[in-house]
C-alpha cells in the first residue's frame, strides 16, 4: 500500500524532553539540565512508514517514547487523528492506546516469561476491556498465523521460541487491538541478519495487508532503507535532515547524514554485482537446459 496523503495521523510539534540531574558535588551540587530531545516536529500519515535514525544519544528513543505516550514531554505537543493527546488521560488515553501500539527491541524482556502466548496476545484486549470476537483461542490462532507462527503453539511460553519467533509474538501482540500506528523501537536490532530480513519482510507485508502506519526507530540505515517511506535523521536531540527515503539516501544534504551514510560498512560492490548476476542466471528458467 502506498502512503496516502491528507491529514497526518500523528503530528508532533516541537516535542522537547529535558532531564535534570545533580551535577558535580552530589546532592549538594547544582541541578544540571540536559535536553535529550530539542523541539522535534514530524508528521506521520496513515499507512506510511517514518523512520527516525540516529546514533546513541541522538534522542531517537526518547522521541519514540514520547510519541507512544510512555513518557511525558517537557514541552511541545502531540496530536493523534486531529485530537490533542499531549496530556491525555483516562478514556482519551485508553483510546490512544488502542490506536497506537509498540514493538520493543528485546523480545524476551518485553514478553512475560510466565504467560502463555495466548495470554500475552490477549493482554492488550483485556486491558482495553474488549471481548475478542470469535473467542480468545480463535483470535490468538489468527494472530499467530498472520505473523507466521504455528497456531498450535498458542499454549507455549516465550522461552520455547527462538529470538525471531519471540519478536513475532511481540508483533502479534501489537496487532491484537487493530492499531492505526505501530511504533517499532529498534525492533529488529537484536536479531540475527537472516532473521532480521525475514522480520522486516513480515512488517512490510502486515502493513500492506492492514494499512497501518509505522514509526520505525533504528540506528541502522541499511535497515531503514528497506522499510521506510520517509526518513528523519537525528543528532544531538534534533532532526538534522528529513525527507523521502530515496532522496535522503541518494542526495543527503546535511553533513552529519553524509558522515552516517559513508560510515556504513559495504560489501565490495563489484563482488556483490558479480554474485547477483550469477544468482539471476541461475534462477532464470530460459537459461536452463530443457527437460527430457
Amino acid at each position: 500500500m502506498s502512503a496516502s496523503s491528507g491529514e497526518p495521523l500523528l503530528s508532533a510539534r516541537e516535542l522537547t524532553k529535558t532531564f535534570t540531574s545533580r551535577g558535580p558535588g552530589g546532592v549538594l551540587g547544582r541541578r544540571v539540565a540536559f535536553t535529550a530531545v530539542d523541539r522535534v516536529s514530524f508528521d506521520i500519515r496513515a499507512g506510511e512508514t517514518l523512520a527516525v535514525v540516529g546514533e546513541s544519544g541522538s534522542g531517537k528513543s526518547t522521541t519514540a517514547r514520547m510519541a507512544a505516550k510512555l513518557m511525558e514531554p517537557t514541552g511541545g505537543s502531540l496530536e493523534f487523528a486531529g485530537e490533542d493527546v499531549t496530556r491525555a488521560e483516562g478514556p482519551a488515553l485508553a483510546r490512544f492506546r488502542k490506536d497506537v501500539q509498540v514493538v520493543f527491541q528485546d523480545p524476551y524482556s518485553s514478553l512475560n516469561p510466565r504467560h502463555t502466548v495466548e495470554r500475552i496476545l490477549m493482554a492488550p484486549l483485556d486491558y482495553q476491556g474488549i471481548a475478542p470476537k470469535g473467542g480468545r483461542r480463535a483470535l490468538t490462532k489468527e494472530l499467530m498465523e498472520r505473523v507466521g507462527l504455528d497456531p498450535d503453539h498458542s499454549q507455549r511460553y516465550p522461552a520455547q521460541f527462538s529470538g525471531g519467533q519471540a519478536q513475532r509474538i511481540g508483533i502479534a501482540r501489537a496487532l491484537a487491538v487493530g492499531p492505526r500506528l505501530v511504533i517499532c523501537d529498534e525492533a529488529v536490532s537484536a536479531l540475527d541478519m537472516s532473521v532480521r530480513a525475514q522480520v522486516l519482510d513480515l512488517l512490510r507485508r502486515l502493513q500492506r495487508e492492514s494499512g497501518f502506519a509505522y514509526l520505525f526507530i533504528a540506528h541502522d540505515l541499511a535497515v531503514v532503507r528497506r522499510i521506510a517511506h520517509r526518513v528523519a535523521v537525528m543528532s544531538g536531540g534534533r532532526i538534522v535532515e528529513a525527507g523521502p527515503c530515496e532522496r535522503v539516501f541518494a542526495d543527503p544534504r546535511d553533513p552529519y547524514t553524509r558522515t552516517l551514510l559513508a560510515a556504513i560498512p559495504r560489501i565490495n560492490p563489484a563482488w556483490d554485482r558479480a554474485r547477483r548476476a550469477r544468482a539471476d542466471r541461475a534462477s532464470d528458467p530460459s537459461q536452463e537446459a530443457p527437460h527430457g
Binding site: 502506498s2 502512503a3 546514533e55 546513541s56 529470538g163 540475527d192 541478519m193 537472516s194 532473521v195 532480521r196 530480513a197 522486516l200 512490510r204 540506528h219 541502522d220 540505515l221 541499511a222 535497515v223 532503507r225 528497506r226 522499510i227 517511506h229 530515496e246 539516501f249 541518494a250 558522515t259 552516517l260 551514510l261 559513508a262 560510515a263 556504513i264 560498512p265 559495504r266 560489501i267 565490495n268 560492490p269 563489484a270 563482488w271 556483490d272 558479480a274 554474485r275 550469477r278 544468482a279
Partner: protein, 271 residues
C-alpha cells in the same frame, strides 16, 4: 619449519560442551590458517560456534568443555597445554579484544595502570618504563593527550575510546596474533568505521595476524583476505573473500549474503 606454514594453523578443531542432555559438539571439525599480516574473518549467526572457536584457541573454554584436534601457533601446539604456559602465550603471543570494552576493563583502576600491568606481566621492568610504553600504546590507537588520559578511569572514556584502550592493551606486548571477537558490534556506525580503520592501520604497521569474528558480512568484507562461514558449529564454507562474496557455493552463505540489506542506488525500492 617453512616460513609459509602459517602463523596460526587450526586443524579439525572440535569443541564439546557438557549439557544436561549429554555432551554437545558446538564446534565440529573446523580447520583454517592465519598468516602473518593476514586477516581471517569468521562469520556466523548466534550459536554458530564462532566465539567458542576463539575461546578454544585462547585456552579460555568454560569449565568442563573439551577441545580436540590441533591449534598451532608458530608451529607450537596449544591444545592440552597447562594453564601456566597458556598464560604466558596469552597477551604475548595471542591477544584478544572483546565486544564489550566496559566489562573487560576494571572500573577501579586507571586505564594507564591496566595497560602497564598487561605489559609487566609478560615483560617485567619498572613501573616507570611500563608507563612510557602505556602512553605510547594509547597514542598509537589515537587517544589524544595520552599522558594525561592514562591517569583517567574507564568511565571517563566514550564507548569508542574504551575500545581503543582495549586494543592498546591487547597490542602492548606486540602479539603475533590478535583475535577480535565482534569488536565493533556495540559501537555506533561512525565509531565502528573509525575502529575498523584503526585495526587495519595497526596491522599494516605491525604485521600482526588477525582473526576477526563477526556476524556482519559487510564489516568483514573490507578487512579479511579469507573468510570462514560457520553455522551451528559446522564449517560451511572457507575461501578467499572475493570468491566467497562473488561466487558463494553453499546455500547458507548465499542466504546470508541475500539478507544483507543494500543501501546503494541499485537497491530495490519499495513503496
Amino acid at each position: 619449519m617453512s616460513a609459509r606454514a602459517g602463523l596460526l594453523v587450526v586443524e579439525d578443531l572440535t569443541v564439546t560442551l557438557p549439557t544436561t542432555r549429554g555432551p554437545v559438539d558446538v564446534v565440529k571439525g573446523v580447520s583454517f590458517t592465519v598468516d602473518r599480516d593476514d586477516t581471517l574473518g569468521i562469520v556466523g549467526e548466534s550459536g554458530s560456534g564462532k566465539s567458542m572457536t576463539s575461546l578454544a584457541i585462547m585456552g579460555l573454554l568454560p569449565r568442563g568443555a573439551t577441545a580436540t584436534g590441533s591449534v598451532r601457533l608458530d608451529g607450537e601446539e596449544l591444545l592440552g597445554r597447562p594453564d601456566r604456559e597458556l598464560r604466558r602465550i596469552r597477551g604475548d603471543g595471542i591477544s584478544m579484544v572483546f565486544q564489550d570494552p566496559l566489562s573487560s576493563l576494571n572500573p577501579y583502576y586507571t586505564v594507564g595502570l591496566q595497560i602497564e600491568e598487561a605489559y609487566r606481566a609478560h615483560r617485567g621492568g619498572s613501573r616507570k618504563a611500563a608507563r612510557a610504553v602505556a602512553v605510547e600504546a594509547l597514542t598509537q590507537v589515537g587517544i589524544a593527550d595520552a599522558e594525561r588520559r592514562a591517569g583517567h578511569y574507564p568511565h571517563q572514556f566514550s564507548g569508542g575510546q574504551r575500545q581503543r584502550v582495549m586494543i592498546a592493551t591487547a597490542l602492548v606486548c606486540s602479539p603475533s596474533l590478535l583475535i577480535a571477537d565482534e569488536p565493533t558490534t556495540a559501537l555506533d556506525v561512525t565509531v565502528q568505521a573509525q575502529i575498523l580503520r584503526l585495526l587495519a592501520g595497526l596491522q599494516e604497521r605491525t604485521g600482526t595476524g588477525m582473526l576477526f569474528i563477526t556476524h556482519d558480512l559487510a564489516v568483514v568484507s573490507s578487512l579479511a583476505r579469507r573468510i570462514l562461514v560457520m553455522r551451528e558449529g559446522d564449517p560451511v564454507e572457507y575461501g578467499e573473500a572475493e570468491r566467497i562474496f562473488s561466487d558463494p557455493h553453499h546455500p547458507y552463505t548465499r542466504a546470508l549474503l541475500e539478507s544483507v540489506p543494500r543501501i546503494d542506488d541499485d537497491a530495490e525500492v519499495w513503496l
